[in-house]
């Protein structure tokens, strides 16, 4: 591999990582933690948890689930699987594009 190719290959890899990890963060934390009540159509108040009619997701159900609850208990996990799948596909393509031929790595002490 040429030095310039190497740099380009690594840059692409890092770009893929940044995009995929942003999705990972968004789904796990923005949707799954910070806005989970909003997605469920409720809000936390001093008197406990109450319905939040202002949320556009109030009353919304996805196959019987409130959206925030579903993301936390099902959806996020599916997204994680999908993210790794996309990464595998992208990297295999990148390897092909750069003509990287992988040999078996010899594990050794030396």
């Amino acid at each position: 591999m040429k030095q310039s190719d190497k740099r380009l290959y690594w840059k692409k890899n890092v770009k893929y990582l940044l995009i995929l990890l942003s999705v990972w963060f968004f789904v796990s934390f923005v949707l799954g933690v910070f806005f989970v009540d909003y997605l469920d159509g409720v809000k936390k108040t001093a008197d406990g948890i109450v319905e939040d009619p202002e949320s556009i997701f109030h009353g919304f159900r996805l196959g019987g689930f409130k959206l925030g609850f579903w993301i936390g208990q099902q959806g996020a996990v599916y997204v994680f699987v999908l993210l790794i799948l996309i990464y595998v596909i992208l990297m295999n393509r990148l390897d092909k594009k750069f003509n990287i031929e992988e040999k078996e790595i010899t594990t050794s002490d030396h």
Partner: protein
């Protein structure tokens, strides 16, 4: 045939399979012992990783925890799966390219420092030992519950089996038994889940049935019903979360990053032939884990609905058989506080501490060794009733254990669940024992104390270390330290705060040097250790939100330690000399799956 005979048959068959594999997959070299020769297919490695990762806590405990915490349980579901994204994207491919045997190998070579290597070994040993104690205990508990064997004998049987394939086969033996164990455990988890989903919602897929309408009440969804039942009894709604947002964030992050930093999981990616295989096995692993992790919350909701719909308000004398069976085992207990003969269930703890000062029921026996019983023929307890109105104690483990009986499934399904629990506990225990023996034989003896040791000598040392580790783990299984549960938070916190940042930085930056890595690791390790030890062991009564630093619970503090580690590693590296050229070249080479040579 009764349950016990079925259990002996099914557990016997699965154990013979494990031993058979162990004999067929003996390790002949250190390479085979440490990384299965580096020739495992990505699919097999994915299966093995899933079994390695899913412990007795995932199989028995997860559904139970969620069942009792509702939406708040999401932290475990996201936390214990999201880490695989980090692992597959940020660590596995590069560490595979590195081409050595252990995590301390990487730390020692990348940071060209024996000190860094030793700190990494200590962290790896500490994390693995804390974890393995719980697994052996899990083996003992499954044996004692299903086969009415004494816990000690259960642990000894578990040790014997693990001894066979871990000591003889090393990573090679472990890998192929884990593949078999995954199949056993997932089958055992799925069968009752599908049955119950069909029964309650007429949908054979638990992940969908979980959101569907009830068969008995068309138009009423299962979760609405569950919310309603919970509120009627004074509990919070099942689909609402009570935990503070910031703390939830910190805990979820600590679990994710901790997962990605666990040495026994990372080392699995060293067993595949190529970098692209490491990526692929990350994908397979998460797919196989996700099958159980998306089914578990469905099982939780099904079991909770069943429980709340049938037990509260029922007359004790008319409760189903499973209730009495698990009452005899001390996993369900009832105290008739208002003397009406009916079971009242609500928030609050039903009774006080047992003789050991724990909030677990302690059954009373008469001189003949029979259980003492009260007016309604219920099992009597040593524990005094508490002053709230809740009369019922339910152990979290019951959710998975009693599921087949609650659903009225045939006896062989109950036996299958026992075999599944054992598979989950044994597979994780074996993976941990391997890390321990590798750390001792390879990282300590070969790389630190006696570099001239022959290959044969190292293999013998690895086997002896494995024997030692099995014995220590067994000892902890029989005499569990009180703090097993608290210590799991510690293992994740430490993995997050010590390993993760310096692994990532070591791959993605060439400028991070040994001074940075050592100070960062120590800062993360010490701060997290101090915080968790203070709130979990030293001053347990202070463990309240108002005393926590920035409102972070001990479970979430690993995230703080991790951030601290990142900051210190980067800052110290800025003000100290760059790493030598050959180390920078090594980092460069990690980044390309092909040969780095021009």
């Amino acid at each position: 045939m009764d349950v016990q005979i079925w259990t002996y048959i099914i557990v016997g068959i699965t154990f013979s399979i494990y031993i058979g594999i162990a004999i067929g997959a003996r390790a002949g070299s250190t390479k085979e012992f440490y990384v299965a020769g580096g020739g495992v297919s990505p699919l097999a490695n994915g299966l093995a990783t899933a079994a390695d990762w899913m412990s007795a806590a995932s199989f028995l405990g997860l559904a139970g925890i969620i069942s009792f915490s509702g939406r708040d349980g999401s932290v475990y579901l996201m936390g214990w799966t999201g880490g695989y994204v980090l692992l597959a994207l940020l660590l596995a491919p590069y560490l595979r390219k590195f081409g050595k045997f252990t995590v301390p190998d990487f730390v020692g070579d990348r940071y060209y420092s024996q000190t860094a290597r030793i700190i990494a070994v200590i962290c790896a040993l500490f994390i693995s030992f804390t974890y393995v104690a719980g697994q052996m205990r899990g083996v003992g508990i499954v044996f004692s519950r299903f086969l009415q064997v004494d816990i000690t004998w259960g642990v000894i049987m578990g040790m014997t089996i693990v001894f066979f394939y871990a000591v003889l086969g090393g990573m090679k033996g472990i890998t192929y038994t884990q593949v078999a164990q995954y199949c056993v455990l997932i089958f055992a988890f799925t069968v009752p889940a599908v049955y119950i989903s069909l029964m309650l919602t007429d949908n054979p897929i638990p992940q969908l049935g979980f959101g569907a309408d009830l068969v008995d009440e068309p138009g009423m969804s299962l979760l609405d019903k569950l919310d309603g039942l919970s509120e009627e009894l004074g509990f919070n709604k099942y689909t609402e979360g009570q935990k503070g947002t910031m703390d939830t964030f910190f805990i979820t992050m600590a679990l994710m990053v901790g997962t990605a930093g666990l040495p026994h999981v990372i080392v699995r990616f060293f067993t595949v032939p190529k970098v692209s295989d490491a990526r692929k096995s990350g994908l397979y692993a998460l797919v196989f884990i996700a099958i159980l992790y998306t089914m578990a919350p469905a099982v939780s909701a099904f079991a909770r609905t069943n429980l709340l719909a049938t037990i509260p308000g029922a007359t004790y004398k008319e409760v189903p058989q499973w209730f009495k069976k698990w009452e005899n085992a001390g996993l369900i207990s009832w105290v008739d506080k208002n003397k009406d003969g009916k079971i009242k269930y609500g928030p609050g703890i039903a009774f006080g501490e047992n003789a050991d000062g724990k909030l677990k029921p302690q059954l009373l026996f008469d001189k003949a060794g029979e259980l003492q019983r009260g007016e309604n023929n219920e099992v009597k307890l040593y524990n005094a009733p508490s002053n709230n109105s809740n009369e019922l104690y339910i152990d979290k483990d019951i959710i998975v254990l009693a599921n087949p009986e609650i659903a009225g499934l045939p006896d062989w399904v109950i036996a299958l669940v026992a075999a599944g629990g054992l598979a989950a506990a044994l597979s994780t225990a074996a993976g941990l024992l391997l890390v321990i023996s590798t750390s001792v034989a390879h990282d300590l003896i070969k790389k630190s104390i006696n570099p001239d040791i022959s290959e044969k000598g190292e293999l013998i040392a690895a086997r002896l270390a494995a024997v030692g580790a099995v014995l220590v783990a067994g000892y902890f299984g029989v005499n569990p330290p009180d703090y097993v549960a608290a210590v799991v938070a510690l293992a994740f916190g430490l993995a997050a705060a010590s390993f993760f940042p310096i692994l990532i930085l070591g791959i993605f930056s060439k400028k991070i040097n040994k001074q940075g890595a050592i100070s960062g690791m120590l800062a993360g390790l010490i701060s997290t250790l101090a915080y968790i030890v203070y709130f979990k062991f030293v001053n347990v009564t202070d463990n309240k939100p108002e005393n926590w630093l920035f409102g972070i619970s001990p479970e979430g503090f690993g995230t703080f330690g991790m951030i601290l580690n990142f900051i210190i590693t980067v800052t110290v590296s800025k003000f100290t000399p760059e790493p030598p050229k050959e180390v920078q070249n090594m980092v460069e080479a990690l980044r390309y799956p092909g040969e780095a040579k021009e």
